[in-house]
């Protein structure tokens, strides 16, 4: 914990701190980490993504945390009971996650908390459960986010320092197989539901949807914002390593062993920034949104103009390719 505090003390004030994992609540000291983040980084918002299994611990965390900073808690639920349990590999995944949602939903105001659900679409059966899950969440007033699972991420790879970034503009390999009609239907439905969201969240979600549709259905990379990895967006791994981004875990330094100033000004960081600059662009929401916000591409999306140089349209490939699952 003193090491984390030492790292946070050196960082500038931040707009957003996202705590994720692995399962962040697997750490019994998450409350201390959140307090340190709120004290030293003074974010406008704290965000935590969780599988929601540890209901008691999560509720206690929400009760005990300092509430001067709003908390955005995003629970991952990938379908209705049987599907979610299958995806998460646990027979009690649905029971525990929904218990967490039900415990926190009535207490959002008191706890200065917004509650969302993130459905990761792993395959066609998952996509078919969108409506059912939406019907479950609606009475609880919980916003339903949807992302498409990609086949592989460097961050969660078992290999160290690996580059799994797209090799061409518009590349996106889905984790599972889909017929294009199913993909179209899913995003049409999500887009209709998103129409009721507040304008900023709606804008951000539509931006993501436009990019995922274009990539998955047409192989086109539009929008394609410039990337702020190792710039406005800093990633930090559990051991203090600073990787390049979600899809390239080449490490530029370690904040447990080096100062932030040293890492940020290092030759390794400069080299990786040059790599970022020529990267064709990925489509993971956790990278896309900071990219869109900090380069202003999100606002430009209000008018039709792409972020990077005009993208060559690549051939559509029906049905949407689905590689052998990576896990």
């Amino acid at each position: 914990m003193p090491e984390i505090e030492r790292i946070f003390r050196q960082l500038p004030r931040l707009d957003m701190v996202r705590l994720s994992g692995g399962e962040p609540f697997a750490r019994t000291d998450l409350l201390d980490i959140a307090h340190l983040a709120q004290t030293h980084l003074r974010p406008l918002r704290l965000h935590i993504t969780t599988n929601g299994f540890l209901t008691d611990r999560i509720v206690k965390f929400c009760e005990a945390r300092r509430r001067d900073v709003p908390l955005q808690l995003l629970l991952s639920v990938d379908g209705l009971e049987a599907k979610h349990n299958e995806v998460r590999g646990r027979t009690n995944a649905w029971a525990t996650a929904t218990a967490t949602l039900k415990a926190l939903a009535p207490r959002r105001q008191e706890l200065n908390l917004t509650l969302g659900v993130n459905q990761t679409i792993v395959d066609a059966a998952g996509a078919e459960q969108y409506r059912g899950l939406n019907d479950f969440l609606k009475p609880l007033g919980i916003r339903h986010h949807v992302v498409m699972a990609y086949d592989a991420s460097a961050t969660y790879s078992l290999q160290r320092e690996v580059d799994l970034a797209p090799k061409a503009i518009g590349d996106f390999t889905t984790f599972g197989s889909f017929q294009r009609e199913a993909v179209t239907k899913l995003w049409d439905e999500v887009e209709r539901d998103v129409a009721e969201w507040p304008w900023l969240e709606r804008l951000a979600k539509r931006y993501y949807i436009r990019g995922i549709r274009n990539r998955v259905l047409r192989g086109e990379g539009e929008p394609n914002p410039r990337c702020v990895a190792l710039n406005a967006h800093l990633r930090l791994l559990p051991n203090g390593d600073v990787p390049t981004c979600q899809f390239n875990t080449k490490v530029v330094g370690n904040l447990r062993r080096q100062s932030f100033a040293e890492v940020w000004a290092s030759q390794a960081a400069a080299t990786q920034r040059a790599w970022v600059r020529q990267c064709p662009g990925c489509w993971a929401e956790c990278e896309v949104l900071p990219n869109a916000i900090y380069t202003g591409d999100l606002w430009r999306a209000l008018a039709p103009s792409p972020g990077r140089p005009k993208v060559p349209a690549r051939r559509a490939s029906p049905p949407v390719p689905g590689p052998a699952p990576s896990a």
Binding site: G21, E23, P24, L41
Partner: protein, 51 residues
């Protein structure tokens, strides 16, 4: 305060678009790779490095 931050965010966007190096404003901190789930689409739980 929020307005000031938004104004500074907007004022920095041209530099970010030119890939000029600035300070971070957004932190993604993976506090652990350990996981109590066994998801089919994510290998975090298979990683041996605990946080």
């Amino acid at each position: 305060m929020k307005h000031l931050r938004f104004a500074s965010l907007l004022s920095q966007t041209p530099a970010r678009r030119r890939y000029e190096v600035g300070l971070p404003r957004y932190l993604t901190y993976l506090v652990t790779f350990t996981c109590n789930a066994r998801c089919i689409m994510c290998d975090s739980w298979k990683k041996t490095v605990a946080g």
